[in-house]
Symmetry: C2
Subunit: 332 residues, 2 copies
């Protein structure tokens, strides 16, 4: 195992930004741009909980950074850098660290989000990675989760359900629906589970046109309920037209062969798409701005005053779901 100082000098310093002070101080130093607010997010990933211990180190690195980037994207914030605490178990060899750091550096560069500092420690068990990411948005213009109101339309970026299906493929590779899928579609789903695609390209479109937003991490339906509840308005609920929820060709094929996968698709989580609301008259501009930024958004419903959330077929029939969100294992 490589020594801590060498790990930092050899693998982390090369991916550090100027604010990291060469990773030679205990701190990072960031000069706030004029007229911007600071947006901060922190997501921790734990081996066996948020990824498989035998996932490729490059995939673990990308997921750890990207789930944080996704939070910034949904707030309309532009990434500025990140700090990372890396808890390493005994027995990791240097090639693992090299691959992890190389992928992390690549992602940091491609998202203009350099490493600013952090800590490397011995893990008490498996590997864990805690990242704090920073971003900037125009002063007073962060897109909040709490600003949903009745009548606003609900939209979502990209496609829903791919990552959750990718996880099921990992857990049940011999399920009939899995065996029925062409290899290329299986590969798409597996990739979407391993490699979230944070929608940072949409940040400016959101800041300009969205009323409220959050990223979809625990499941579309449950997260839509959370967004409505965050408004603090009693009786505000999402009304989602399930047939309008955008699916990839792979998810569509899976659902066609096994209709009960609707639960996994709508409530499985790990999508890292942006769930957003907009006033009806802003929807065309929001859709156009998302498309122009390279990622289509789709209108899937609205926020309404009602007794309860509604998840409907095109004919108006309500579809029951056994749960609305992925249930993380929680200490018991």
């Amino acid at each position: 195992m490589i020594a801590e100082d060498a790990l930092i000098a050899r693998y982390l310093a090369p991916i550090a930004g100027t604010g990291a002070l060469g990773l030679k101080d205990d701190v990072a130093l960031v000069v706030p741009p004029q007229g911007k607010d600071l947006v901060l997010t922190k997501d921790a990933l734990v081996s066996g909980v948020h990824f498989f211990a035998n996932d490729p180190p490059a995939s673990i690195a990308r997921k750890a950074l990207r789930v944080n980037l996704s939070d910034l994207a949904a707030k309309g914030a532009t990434p500025a850098g990140f700090l990372m605490a890396l808890a390493l178990p005994a027995g990791l060899d240097e090639s693992w660290i090299a691959a992890f750091a190389a992928a992390l550096g690549e992602d940091a560069r491609s998202h203009a989000c350099p490493l600013l500092g952090g800590d490397t420690v011995r893990a008490a068990g498996g590997l864990s990675i805690s990242i704090t990411a920073l971003g900037w948005c125009d002063a007073g213009r962060m897109v909040r989760r709490t600003s949903g109101r009745a009548g606003q339309r609900l939209l979502v970026s990209g496609t829903i359900g791919d990552a959750a299906l990718g996880l099921r493929l990992r857990l049940e590779p011999d399920a009939p629906w899995a065996r029925a899928l062409p290899v290329s579609l299986r590969a798409h789903l597996a990739d979407r589970y391993l490699h979230p695609r944070p929608r940072n390209a949409l940040a400016l479109a959101l800041a300009a046109h969205a009323a409220a937003a959050m990223d979809v991490s625990d499941g579309l339906l449950g997260d839509a309920v959370k967004l409505a509840a965050a408004s603090g308005i009693a009786g505000l609920h999402p009304r989602i037209m399930l047939d309008n929820v955008p699916l990839s060709p792979a998810a569509r094929a899976a659902l066609d062969s096994a209709p009960d996968l609707l639960q996994t698709i709508m409530a499985g989580g790990d999508d890292y798409e942006v769930l957003m609301t907009a006033e009806a008259d802003r929807v065309p501009a929001l859709l156009a701005a998302c498309s122009a930024a390279g990622c289509d958004a789709t209108e899937i419903g609205e926020l309404v005053m009602a007794e309860a959330p509604a998840f409907l077929r095109a004919d108006g029939a309500a579809v029951p779901f056994s749960s609305l969100s992925f249930q993380h294992d929680w200490p018991a």
Copy 2:
């Protein structure tokens, strides 16, 4: 075990600052004050590595926050808030969490450093806590580790060695030196190990008068060598007069009864005092400002151009040390 949502609502939301948005969004929002630079630090603490699993939850909470506050103090930065990732093992009961959160909230209030956000996850092994703390300093005025130069005096706040002796008391309670110490002095050392005292009160004194600084976490001698090396000046080394290093009555009594404890005191770490340098003509003002802020500093040596670091008795005799820093267990 309490559910995650209830944990956040019941124990974390009450200690959150306004920037935390009630912990209802995925992010924290901070408005940068005019004319300030942002200072960020991240330290992770792991059960069995940085604290004992059976330490009181209140002590673990205080240590986790205070080691981060100490980094801000040494940079002359004023704390602004923190984000926390908490990885909880199975089997922790709610009373543990209640005690942890209450102490964390108390410390956050007394240091004007509110919780801004974070993440709670299941641990892959023992408890771990990763904190990112934010602070502000006047633009361009952060006290760096890299600005040490030949001729600058070395000073240190508070007293050195107490925490490392407190750790040895935990590990070897029946050592002759430990048994010889009065109960009140043992209690002092035990407390200094469990409860770092970050020197945030000194931030303005440092910003006004110090040339370079860092907090002492791994051992005074090793950290002094690191500070000199961070300058990038080949041949710049610390020259420390060991008899001038400030000791508490407890550390003095321990050293008197067991002179070989000098190694533990000077290189044991966990001091969380500030090691600072100042030009000779600024030393009186720095000393006075520290005293006025409620924590004396002491001149212990200087930075010199030399072949190697020197750790000397008053008569000029060099004292050999088997190591200059605490060696953290590192994955092997």
